[in-house]
């Protein structure tokens, strides 16, 4: 297994930041997730926040950065054998209908791509969750096809409906709740990846993968009803700990 050169930095009296080399790739992400799992097994009582090339360790109390850093370095040097990471692939339905995809027409004209091609290109990849932040349950996804890269709108909208699926720059994602936003909206997903009514409010984790699949308006309506009645279950598949 590749070991990276990590930087350990104090982040105020109660937190410590660990940084990997500045790269967005699966190898770095796998290493972060494995390390997170090992830290969880070795140390109790911390909150761990993984993202792209970092892992932030937060305590409820003041910490001794030097001794925590040396503990963490020991953990990183140890072997990976005990750490089994469960990673999942989630299939998420999206309705790419102009009624929801309010920017579809403009997007299609500017990119010179017919609607069907946009849907094909958007539903083809397995996207990787590199970070969850911005809003509860908002996934930063990597893997958008270059053909679909498109700048954010010059003026953000004040209200984007819950479930909107958008493209902003090199990123794509789903707005888990109504919010302001500047992405180009191409569809809507009826599912809630973040739901406080569930015992585990957010099944998805950093390192999991997402595949979108197209549904029509009727299916969107049906799934919305099933979601509200708490009887819709997202399709998930187990992945191995390298995310394959």
């Amino acid at each position: 297994m590749n070991k990276f050169k990590l930087e350990y930095r104090a982040f105020g009296p109660r937190a410590l930041l660990i940084e990997w080399p500045r790269m967005v790739n699966e190898e770095v992400l796998n290493d972060i997730i494995k390390f997170k799992k090992m830290v969880e097994e070795a140390l109790e009582g911390y909150e761990l926040i993984p993202a792209y090339n970092s892992l932030t360790i937060i305590s409820a109390k003041e910490i001794n950065h030097e001794s925590l850093t040396s503990q963490l370095k020991d953990i990183y040097r140890s072997t990976y054998t005990s750490a089994k990471v469960q990673r999942k692939l989630w299939h998420i339905p999206v309705c790419y209908d102009e009624g929801f995809g309010i920017d579809l027409e403009a997007f299609s004209m500017e990119k010179k791509l017919p609607f069907e091609r946009i849907v094909e290109l958007h539903t083809e990849p397995l996207y990787t969750i590199y970070c969850i932040g911005f809003l509860p349950g908002f996934m930063y996804l990597g893997g958008l096809k270059k053909t679909l890269h498109h700048p954010r709108r010059s003026t953000p909208r004040l209200k984007i409906p819950q479930g909107s699926v958008g493209i902003g720059g090199e990123q794509t994602g789903v707005y888990p709740q109504e919010s302001p936003g500047g992405w180009n909206i191409i569809g809507n997903s009826p599912v809630k990846v973040f739901n406080t009514e569930h015992e585990n409010p957010c099944g998805v984790s950093v390192g999991d993968k997402i595949k979108f699949y197209p549904i029509d308006r009727d299916e969107h309506k049906l799934i919305t009803i099933q979601v509200d009645a708490n009887i819709f279950h997202l399709k998930t598949y187990e992945l191995d700990d390298t995310g394959k």
Binding site: R9, A10, F11, G12, P13, R14, A15, L17, E19, R22, V24, E47, L48, I49, P50, A51, Y52, N53, S54, T56, I58, A60, Y130, C131, I132, G133, F134, L135, P136, G137, F138, Y140, P176, Q177, E178, F194, T196, P201, C202, S205, V206
Partner: protein
Amino acid sequence: MIQVNKTGLYSTIQDLGRFHYRDKGVPVSGVMDAVSAKFANKLLGNDENDAVMEITMTGPELEFQVETLIALSGAMISPTLNGKEIYNDEVHRVKRGDVLEFGKLTSGIRCYLAVKGGFMTEEVLGSRSWYVSLTEFSHLEVGKTLDIKEFKEIVDLEHLPGADHNFKEKEITVFKGPEFHLLTEDQRKQVLSGIFNVAKENNRMACQLKQQLFPHKYSILTSATLPGTVQFTPSGKLIILMKDAQTTGGYPRILQLSEEGIALLAQKRTNDEILFSLQE
């Protein structure tokens, strides 16, 4: 129960925060000035995490429907009970039908109302802190009733010395943030020897400062932020993240406030002066 007759500018229920869901993008929330809120709870013999009402600048009108004990701490908003003046940092007995009102704001901006046993409002993901989209309410609404316990016992009210929390203090203790090293010598000087004014963009999510430092071109890959993180935007603005801030960000994190620093900043109003004192 407490019935809300008037809401005031912005009143919410908060405990010390919602932890262990930050990796799912859930902000911590919780009281902005933890020093005052903890003190109000301590006066009543409550747990420090018991939910209190955070009252911002102008107070609500609240009608008690049970007998209990209350305490106020933090900003001075000239509170009255049935029209009679009462004071912060003291325990008061309230009876069924009593009305708590507020008047002129004379110091700080956030006042904490604690009730014996804490507010028993809904708990979501291990916290009673209100946050839009997670909890049913995001701020007080007229006619709403808030669950509290009845407390009729006669108790010897222990007198505690006041919270050592001076809102006039300008100096805010800070620590180096993870990207402090990116600052040039000039930018460091600006940050650490400058006097800053609180901008009007100041709420539970973030407190911006009026002054701008030299612009820069650093960016980081999106990474965790904390309440009290000082973000440095490319245009040179300083944004201090507060309790409802998002859990990740892409601006360099140059400084980090302590919980006490956040508590002090939480009592500052637009134009108030602050300066950063770096603790190595």
